[in-house]
Symmetry: C2
Subunit: 135 residues, 2 copies
DNA sequence: TGTAAACTGGACAATAAAATCGTCTTTAGA
DNA sequence: TCTAAAGACGATTTTATTGTCCAGTTTACA
């Protein structure tokens, strides 16, 4: 019942980028150092975030990473789900239908509601808001 | 970001026991079969629930498992935490203080609030209520 | 055009979690 | 007292997560 370290790293990396001037690029190694994240591990995470369309990367000397959008247009949910996949509090609560074992299982709705609440909360939290709070 | 299978199994096992006549005992193997849980895995889970004081077990022939209390007095939170330990949405949100890295990290409060909400929800859901809904 | 900085991608090791297996101990009842 | 049913306990296997390493590829700039 925890987001993975990867997702936590991803969130911190995005926040780091959000704090910078939007015209600057940051090298993965710099972000890793300042955020205390294993560098080669972060490289993979950034690659995934880039594939997900949240970051832009540029290779070569003076290359680096920037946000693909405004901080205010990136939600916590997007970042977490780009790494961990869809949030799913229990196996039975998911797109794949889940446990067909007990048709009227009374527990499933509890997980569903809790999950919806959590997802909604992460969705309404964007990095623009987070930025304001951290200054 | 998911409860463990163990916790799910625990919840289903407790619900199974809650559905029975309170004077009856159920063998672990029976519960495992009816709830579709690997038997030897369930044995360990039941052992943990017993140590946590949620179940009573009796050994020997005609032994088995019963709830230690009324279904209405057992919450979903207790069962989940007996198996998975305290719910903690992220490493930094916990009793051990967490990341001292960024003193005014704006993300931590988000995880804290979300976690509190989830915990509260699981705490107010007891197996007495669940029983009613499943009939 | 050469070179150093930077991302890319794959293979792999270490660790933790999930699941399984086998053996032991306890106990009700014939 | 003997036996079969049942839980207790420890060893092992499997799988996912986390982290490392290294050999490519791209590109700005001297």
């Amino acid at each position: 019942m925890q987001i993975t370290r990867q997702a936590d790293y991803a969130v911190r990396a995005v926040l780091h980028l959000a704090r910078m001037n939007s015209s600057e690029r940051a090298a993965t190694s710099t972000v890793a150092k300042e955020q205390n994240i294993p560098p080669s591990f972060l490289a993979k995470i950034i690659s995934q975030l880039s594939i997900a369309g949240l970051l832009h990367t540029s290779r070569g000397a003076r290359g680096g990473v920037t946000l693909a959008r405004n901080p205010g247009e990136i939600t916590l949910l997007e970042v977490v789900e780009a790494i961990d996949g869809p949030i799913q509090l229990n196996e039975c609560v998911g797109s794949d239908g889940g446990c067909t074992f007990d048709e009227n299982c009374p527990i499933k709705p509890v997980w569903c509601d809790a999950q919806e609440e959590l997802v909604a909360r992460l969705k309404r939290t964007n990095f623009g808001d987070l930025l304001v709070k951290s200054r």
